[in-house]
């Protein structure tokens, strides 16, 4: 089956698929005219029921929290999978590969500090203002990556030792699952809120949403750091060969 045949058959069927997709999209309500009750109901009741002002956050961690459990474990599984697939390529040689410019290093240090604070803030206030465990977790992982970019690979490796990071990742994912069981034990439904819902608009609100939020943040940060670490290690191997 050569490429020409493949692309030809594809062109014909893609044209058909395009027609079908555009035909289906006509059946959607006009853009900007969302009128369904599910979203409206959540917007109306979420603030009262859980005292959180970020309705997306409370949807992710409470109303549809079970989806988030699956999502957490998808990330966990992908990291396990990548570790499995790249297990032969690990090289334990120490390689510094430092950035040489002092200006970049200084700027890097300041930026890393700022990004860390930003990430922690995005996580902590995730159910009050836009943000949350996922978003903040990625920002925090970005701070670690900045250490490599503005510093050296050796610094990155020193800051992200393999075992504690993997433990953090498993702990984050496991904590989410276990918190669900706590909800089951105390309130009769898996992932049901079991803490007081506090005051609207403050950090103390949302009940277990806050705990789930932090479990997610820890898991996502650790997962992204493991991914960066695995891929960077594979990248650094030929660099190590070349530099030594």
């Amino acid at each position: 089956m050569n490429r020409t045949v493949r692309l030809g058959l594809f062109a014909i069927s893609a044209a058909g698929l395009a027609a079908l997709l555009f035909w289906s999209l006509i059946g959607l309500p006009d853009f900007g005219h969302y009128h369904w009750p599910y979203g409206k109901l959540l917007n109306a009741v979420a603030v009262n029921e859980r005292h959180t002002t970020n309705v997306v956050g409370v949807t992710v961690f409470d109303y549809r929290g079970f989806d988030t459990l699956g999502e957490e474990f998808i990330l966990f599984t992908a990291v396990v999978g990548v570790s499995l697939l790249l297990r032969k390529d690990r090289d334990e040689r120490v390689l510094r590969d430092p950035v040489r410019s002092d200006g970049v290093r200084l700027l890097g240090m300041l930026t890393v500090a700022a990004v860390l604070v930003l990430g922690l803030w995005v996580v902590a206030f995730g159910y009050v203002t836009p943000g949350g465990g996922f978003q903040g977790g990625v920002v925090l992982a970005g701070a670690f990556l900045l250490v490599y970019l503005a510093g050296s690979y050796g610094d990155f490796e020193a800051l992200t030792p393999h075992t504690p990071v993997e433990i953090a990742e498993a702990l984050g994912a496991g904590a989410f699952a276990v918190l669900g069981f706590v909800g089951l034990a105390y309130e009769g439904a898996y992932l049901r809120n079991f803490l007081g819902i506090g005051d609207t608009g403050t950090l103390y609100s949302g009940g277990s949403v806050a705990l789930l939020n932090w479990a997610t943040a820890i898991e996502v940060t650790a997962a992204m750091v493991v991914l960066f670490s695995e891929f960077l290690n594979v990248y650094m191997v030929p660099v190590a060969d070349w530099r030594t």
Partner: protein
């Protein structure tokens, strides 16, 4: 004009699909899958949009003020995580393929067929 966002979603889907079918490089292929995934984000978010409504964050805004649908945003968040994981796995596989076969061309790694 009201259907343009939906059309963009369909277009992204088809372009990504073309990229996957015609790809000569596994890294490129992984990113084309990512483009296809973006099509679903655009569609989801477009479906939930409401004219003249704010984000569903009620800090400083009274409850009852028109806001867009929070559910699709939650779905898109989940969707993004799924996309990251699939791309990560395919990239890891691409690295392994390069190590074993010294190529990243998907057309040239077929050992098994028939």
């Amino acid at each position: 004009m009201t259907y343009l966002p939906y059309a963009v979603a369909a277009w992204l889907f088809l372009v990504g699909l073309y990229g996957v079918v015609s790809s000569r490089n596994l890294i490129h292929l992984a990113l084309c899958l990512s483009v296809m995934q973006s099509a679903t984000y655009v569609l989801l978010l477009a479906v939930g949009y409401k004219n003249k409504a704010t984000a569903p964050i009620f800090r400083g805004i009274p409850v009852g003020h028109p806001a867009v649908d929070p559910v699709v945003q939650a779905l898109t968040l989940t969707d993004i995580v799924v996309s990251v994981t699939v791309v990560a796995l395919i990239l890891a596989l691409a690295l392994d393929v390069h190590k074993q076969g010294h190529t990243v061309d998907p057309d040239h790694i077929a050992g098994m067929s028939g």
